[in-house]
Amino acid sequence: MRVVIAEDSVLLREGISRLLADAGCEIVASVPDGPSLVRAVQEHQPDISIVDVRMPPSFQDEGIRAALEIRAENPRSPILVLSQYVEAEYASDLLESGAGSVGYLLKDRVAEVSTFIDGVHQVAQGGTVLDPEVINQLVTHRRRDDPIGTLTPREREVLSLMAEGKTNAAIADTIFVSHGAVEKHVRNIFMKLGLLHGDDANHRRVLAVLSYLRNS
């Protein structure tokens, strides 16, 4: 797998490169800022770009802006954004920037090596990966009369996992139930929340769940 890394800290750039190289990836370019990321992606057309949010020149949400710029040109260019802390606001921007092939994770997750590598593969193959922390921000504190209150604890768990971008099969593996049971939970959740997309199309489903969580 060919990877472009954008990260302004040399230490972290080397660390992530080493970790990915160990996992069998080829680092085709590693760059320190937003504009050079955009150029590197145009030049190398990588299988995935791994991008830090805060980079020069603005030291603001440079990584997100670069990611949006890249995906405005090619909505299928896979991008995994890493950040010191996650914000639901940025997650929505990224998700709406294209059709899948996008991820948004806390930088800390790099330490869970195998989960991180799984995420990289998932995004490269067109999937959507969101940090549990984003979902946490959105799900935990709801209004009293929120329909989410009518979900069973198990259904809430499934909702969170769906929002993270997991497929039914992956959810079944995570919570140790059968594939059929997961499908039933998903159907119940969509019915209770009055959502339309009941299909397994990963990206559309994440988007529906996320926009429900943000707008209600």
């Binding site: 805060r54 603001q60 802390y85 914000e87 639901a88 606001e89 921000q137 935990t140 504190h141 009293r144």
Partner: protein
């Protein structure tokens, strides 16, 4: 030359200068305008208002004092005297408005803002404001001043008018006695021509005198019941230096808290992590099983440190605020608040950075308090811009009773607001609800 004259008149006007008594520019332009009529009405009104106020004061004061003397009736007497004092600023306001309307001298309210708080504190602030007593003095002086103005006004109006219409009077009544020692009798209209001329001259003179009198009244009022800019300036300097020293305290406290967080928690965790790895290195050959366990521990410790630093950094400065502005930052805050938060933010363009940051800290601290102390089930954050001020309101449906002590976060917030010339008020009756409101000026 012209510049100097202008500057000096400006300086004088600030100090309530005598200079302003004469109308600016050509006197004849002032005389041949609506000014004489307006100022005539003004002089007559001074008397009417002065008399009314005097009668009302004397009646209320006499009744109030009389009742207070007869001990038992003091329950009615003392409130009556209190009501009299409440009337004073109203009369002051009427007078300032009247003077502005008739003479064009705009006099701002001299009163200090009465702070929110207990009724006793508010009463003390009200009574200790010199403006109240100056308004009282003015309203008492208005009666004699108004009386003099009334006499001058009536005489100044009737004398020239009678002289000017003397031909008609002679025609109507046959003859006319002109007063004074000479005591002449005028009995043909032709003989009245000098009288008419005299009347015209006197008319012009009194028209000018009316204007000058009204302006003199305005200048006097501005001096007595207008805002005292020097005092206001001195108060502002005092507030600012107090705020500044407290802000230094706030930032020292902040540094101490950060130091404590790092020292008490982050550093020990890193030491542990290094120790676990060191031990693992020792064991890796002799006891690989134990080494694997130690590495596992180290891995967990590293994760914890990361999460901790993330929270610490977030508390120092929320990058979403810089990146996306206040509304996004508040939404993010609400995501971390244990109580559901309803957000109603209405901002045009982004406020200055210092205002935005202060607003953020006010909201963050308030929401933390809501979650920690209020037992609320819901909170509401409202932010909007009005007349160049950023208005913030945080409300909850909790138990109330929040108190502001020098050491509490709330007074720190008040200092932060004051540092920007803003104001933060807390309303938290026992039983709730608690409402924190702040006003931060957006333009400096």
């Amino acid at each position: 030359m012209a510049t100097r004259a202008e500057t000096s008149s400006q300086d004088q006007s600030k100090l309530g200068g005598i200079h302003d008594i004469l109308p600016p520019g050509n006197p004849f332009r002032a005389i041949f305008s609506l000014e004489p009529i307006k100022t005539f009405i003004f002089l007559i009104l001074s008397f009417i208002i002065g008399l009314t106020v005097f009668v009302v004061y004397v009646t209320i004061a006499a009744t109030g004092i009389g009742l207070t003397m007869s001990v038992i009736m003091a329950i009615i007497g003392i409130p009556l005297l209190g009501a009299l004092l409440l009337l004073v600023p109203v009369i002051g306001w009427i007078e300032r408005e009247r003077i502005g309307l008739f003479t064009g001298f705009e006099i701002a309210s001299p009163y200090r803002e009465v702070p929110d708080g207990k009724i006793g504190d508010r009463a003390i602030a009200f009574l200790s404001d010199g403006a109240l007593w100056r308004d009282l003095l003015y309203s008492l002086l208005l009666f004699p001043i108004g009386l003099a103005q009334f006499v001058i006004g009536v005489v100044g109006f009737t004398v020239p008018v009678s002289l000017i219409i003397s031909p008609y009077l002679v025609y109507a009544f046959g003859s006319l006695n002109v007063g004074g020692a000479a005591f002449t009798t005028v009995d043909t209209p032709a003989e009245t021509i000098p009288l008419v001329l005299l009347g015209l001259v006197l008319g012009l003179a009194t028209a000018y005198i009316f204007i000058v009198l009204a302006r003199a009244h305005a200048v006097f009022a501005r001096w007595l019941i207008g805002p005292d800019e020097r005092r206001a300036l001195a108060e502002r300097v005092e507030t600012l230096s107090e705020t500044r020293s407290r802000m230094v305290g706030v930032s020292l406290d902040d540094r101490r808290n950060i130091e404590r967080d790092i020292h008490d928690s982050t550093q020990p965790k890193l030491v542990n992590l290094a120790m676990s790895l060191g031990m693992a290195k020792e064991k890796i050959d002799s006891d690989p099983q134990r080494a694997r366990e130690l590495i596992d521990t180290a891995h967990n410790e590293a994760r914890e440190v990361l999460a901790e630093i993330r929270n610490l950094v977030r508390g120092l400065h929320p990058s979403i605020l810089t990146d996306r502005g206040l509304e996004a930052a508040i939404r993010s805050l609400s995501g971390y608040c244990a109580v559901p938060v309803q957000i109603d933010v209405n901002l045009g363009e982004r406020p200055p950075e210092a205002v935005e940051t202060t607003a953020y800290y006010i909201i963050a601290e308030s929401l933390t308090n809501v979650a920690k102390h209020s037992q609320a089930t819901e909170a509401r954050v409202m932010v909007r811009v009005e007349n160049g001020n950023l208005l913030i309101e945080i409300e909850d449906d909790g138990i109330g009773g929040a108190v502001r002590t020098p050491a509490s976060g709330l007074s720190g917030l008040q200092d932060r607001a004051a540092a920007l010339d803003g104001r933060l008020t807390i309303s938290s009756p026992v039983g709730g609800p608690t409402r924190i409101s702040a006003r931060l000026p957006c333009e400096s």
